[in-house]
Amino acid sequence: MSMDKSSQGSLQSIAGDVLPTCSAACPVHTDTREYVQRISKGDYEGALDVLLEVNPFPSVCGRICHHPCESKCRRVAIDEAVSLRMLKRFVVENTAAHRIARRKKAVQINSDKSAAIIGAGPAGLTAAMDLALRGYKVKVYEKDTKLGGMLAHAIPRYRLPPEALAQDIEDILATGIEVHFGSSVGVDISFEQLRKENDAVLIAVGLSESHSLPIPGTGSKGVFLGVTFLWDVANGLCPELGERTLVIGGGNVAIDIARAAKRLGPKNVYMACLESREEMPAWKWEIAEAEEEGIEILNSWGPKAILEKDGAVRAMEFRRCASVFDAQRRFSPSYDESVTNTVEVDSVILGIGQKANLDFLLGSEVSVNGGRLTCDRESMATSEPGVFACGEVMTGPGSAIQAVGTGHDAAKVLAHYLETGEILKLPDKNTINIGELPAATAAKARRLDRVCVDLTDPAERIKDFSPIEPVYTEEEALSESRRCLSCATGAHLQFPNHCAGCLTCVRICPFGVAQVRRTAFMPPQECQTCGLCAAECPAFAIEVLRFPTAAMKKSMVENVAGLDLERVARPFLIAYCCVNGTTSRKYLKDQSAGEIMETGVLRILVPCVGRLSMADLVSPFELGADKVAVVSCPEGACYYPRVEGWLERRITRTQRYLDEIGLGGEKLQLFKMEGSGDESWTRIWERFRAVNLETAVGR
């Protein structure tokens, strides 16, 4: 649901119920804006904290999440979405030590109630961790010897290397859950016994088996079931494929199968699906990457028969699929039998969908209908008291992060049941988001190229299962993080009683979004956070939430208070630098008093120096600075339109004022970066310090 454009949404409401579109789209509502902003400030550890707040699988998601956050990123109105998944991956791969240091430890079991969880996929493990951290005894039953469910067994290593999954799992295991490996419920322990031994049972078995096809020839040698195939591949058992391999299916699992098959050596790998190209359920980027690897996709064909010779696959016969869905958009394929096609192949892998194995429920009271577990989505309850379900067995095929979300929900539901013996109906999941970026605002915003990485060359990557995507370098991550619009953290009338309604904000706003409705109003969903209005407001009534200059001034005062001004290297330079110039966090770190005194430079990083007011430019001299440098982006590179011009005029005004008060306007200078800040700042500072060395205020 979008916020009504005409409504006076305040930033308070945005911070509360109204979410940025990225967070609203994420099944666990990751505070995307916050972690990206932390990256941009060089606080990668803080970014990891934000990720782990709601998602125990950030390493997995950094690799394979289908990133609904990106699909809803408001930046698409300007150019392209921020590459959020890649930023997440950068965070987890650069904070390993912090992750271990902050790892949650097992809490004392504080309840005599226990829960059994069947299945250790993302849903089951998330629920287990949440319950363990609430002090319940949790036992997880996993039929396999590895944890992670489909993440461990069905996602090929070139997308998700086992060490990424292991990083997440180690965190989860540290919370003290008891895992029974290789313990298949219904075989090694009966479902009824689980119920007897525990106060609640959570079914999180996922969809672990492939559907077969009701066509002739599926029993032939050379026909594989998709999930079994992927399991074998993941466990290093190489299924023997012929030179020509055909994958049936058009979803993401089918793509994984085809790409994994390609890496096993067949000369030709085909995919065939009912859907037309546009209708294919696989993600577009997955399809593109598969085609790069030489996989040929045959669209709009329905399987008719697998033809065999001497019991082995010889060819696949197809009939034209005329339509996949009926008028109500339900899956109901219709065929044109007059159009057929036969493709000669040696192997066929069925990737047409999965189902749950619920055999362990046979003979129990838990209701299963047509192979599907009966489960109420709101309460996650099955037909039996104390038996709940989460993950794909409840939702049907979905994503890892969706499964994590249902795991969190399941923990809430189970905890409630364990405490009260009652069912908890989960509240409505609909969130209110701030809506798309208005086209008129987007049209005025500067376009910034998305930072893309080059995947391994297709010819190389099909040779083995090595990961194909490099992680962002620090420079790339910082650059990409700065593309985030930091939606709804812009200018805001902090002191309404100071506002005289003078219209300066309206006249100066480069995006044309500021209004005066008796007092200033900057619509949070439109403001682009440049801070120009705050800098020019004659009442200092406006603050930019993303970077309040009042807080900046306070920290500058504190920094200087910690110095022995008699011993600071002179001339003492306070340098305001645009944070957008950093390519590492070298300059994003706090400076020690010793460093400032030794170098004679106190740097203050500002996300666009255009937001510095005239008072901000004068006040460093009061604190004892001999010179003040303002270092902006290179000529023409400012993220915001018109800000450079206003900054130059403000500097000129301030220089004249400094002349007037007898200090000398030349002590304030505006510089433009030459290349990155890391490359040019020290040079700029030193050059400026070297000019007219005898200057010193009040001495």
């Binding site: 005289a500 008060i661 200090l663």
Partner: protein
């Protein structure tokens, strides 16, 4: 709106040579809007004073404040209390002359100095630019001049213009920046279809409603207590 311009810094600094503890107080209405006396200007002036006196080797305490309007008692009461409570030696007002006077009347033995030169009643022409529109003469004649005031906007305040200094619609006093108001009046009356009005010469104006009649008061009957 009342428009006022910042005084030269050294002039303001000069007023304060003999005082140790100074309060710079802004006004949150007209002078905030004309970008000369709001919170921002208070901070900039106070900061400048501290730096300049510090450079002279004289440490003074320069305090900052800003009220919604310096021309209403209720708003300035906190300023008066602060001056007394904190032992302030002198006040600099960044209001128009009205605020300075109003405070001066109530500050007892504490001196007050203007930080601004009050200039005119004007309107905003563009960001950072204002022009005079009204002279506050006390008997408005613009009903006869198309809503445009020759008292305020004619360099000679002519009631029946233009004079010979009008050329191509501009006033000879400053042809680049000043329109001839009688040209504007002519054009406006023409558009209104009322050029005939110009035949009725305006009689000599009674200036007693302006400052010539002595200090003016304005009363709303029944809305104030007659003493």
């Amino acid at each position: 709106m009342i428009v006022a311009d910042p005084k030269p810094f050294l002039q303001v600094k000069g007023y304060l040579e003999d005082f140790q503890k100074v309060l710079v107080v802004g006004c949150g209405t007209c002078t905030t809007v004309c970008l000369s006396g709001g919170e921002a200007e208070v901070q900039i002036l106070a900061s400048g004073l501290r730096i300049a006196f510090g450079k002279d080797g004289r440490k003074k305490t320069i305090l900052e404040g800003c009220v919604q309007r310096q021309c209403d008692l209720e708003f300035i009461v906190p300023v008066l209390s602060q001056v007394e409570a904190e032992g302030i030696d002198a006040v600099v007002s960044l209001a128009c002359g009205v605020g300075v006077n109003f405070l001066a009347d109530r500050l007892g033995n504490i001196p007050i100095f203007p930080g601004l030169d009050t200039t005119f009643y004007g309107a905003n022409m563009q960001q950072g630019l204002w022009a005079e529109m009204c002279a506050g003469c006390g008997s408005c004649i613009v009903a006869y001049t198309g809503g445009i005031c020759p008292v305020a906007r004619c360099s000679k305040h002519l009631l029946n213009g233009p004079c010979g200094g009008s050329e191509k619609g501009k006033c000879e006093v400053d042809p680049k920046n000043i329109d001839c108001v009688w040209q504007l009046i002519y054009d406006r009356l023409k558009r209104l279809g009322r050029l005939e009005d110009l035949r009725n010469l305006l009689p000599a104006k009674d200036w007693s409603t302006a400052s010539d009649g002595g200090v003016r008061r304005s009363a709303r009957e029944q809305l104030y207590d007659v003493k």
